[in-house]
Symmetry: C2
Subunit: 132 residues, 2 copies
Amino acid sequence: MATPERDDAAIVISLERVALERWADGDPGAFLDLSAAEVSYFDPFAARRLDGLAALRSLYEQLRGRIHIDRFEMIAPRVQIAGDVAVLTYRFDSYGGDGVVRWNTTEVYRKDPDGWKIIHTHWAFNQPQTAA
Amino acid sequence: MATPERDDAAIVISLERVALERWADGDPGAFLDLSAAEVSYFDPFAARRLDGLAALRSLYEQLRGRIHIDRFEMIAPRVQIAGDVAVLTYRFDSYGGDGVVRWNTTEVYRKDPDGWKIIHTHWAFNQPQTAA
């Protein structure tokens, strides 16, 4: 049976999937549209956390047109609802010219008057084989 | 001037710091006490996300007494409050026998009737040098 929490979870997963599909085509626009002004962001390439939409926009615009993912899998997405917050976690397997890259992903969404917005993003490698 | 949000941020950072100090001495107990039944957990060693306190307890109990961190730095902690949720993010530099290990950390806390509880943890390496 449908419940508000289940609906919210499905909406958040759907928003994320559409943004990933555009990302896979080199377009960061959907993630930028989804991100809140206060967004915080970690990825494995940046020395520091990015704070705020302007900083995230600067990074993403440098990547526009440079990303191409042939196909991806969003694995075991889970949404934890807490008030107006939805914590979406999943693994992300990205297939392209370099083979597969495996990620762990956290997205914290907040339900704002104008819809769900991402207030925190954390991208990390799943089981990286680190150099000695 | 003190505000409720600023107080909540200080409390969450303080809870985390105390748990890290016990962790640095090989004791995962404070993190287990802080974690909610529904907790989700990513780290760079696990193939999959852990879901639920029993799974997290199983991992942490395997590590009890095996972790020793000489000293650590919690760098640039930031708390984003959204309703009863606090998203704490920081970098964590851990100094020990192997030199320094640098991390990116996300902790999502929820304010429950019995206090702040962690509903999601994401530990990842900061700028890992991956093997070719």
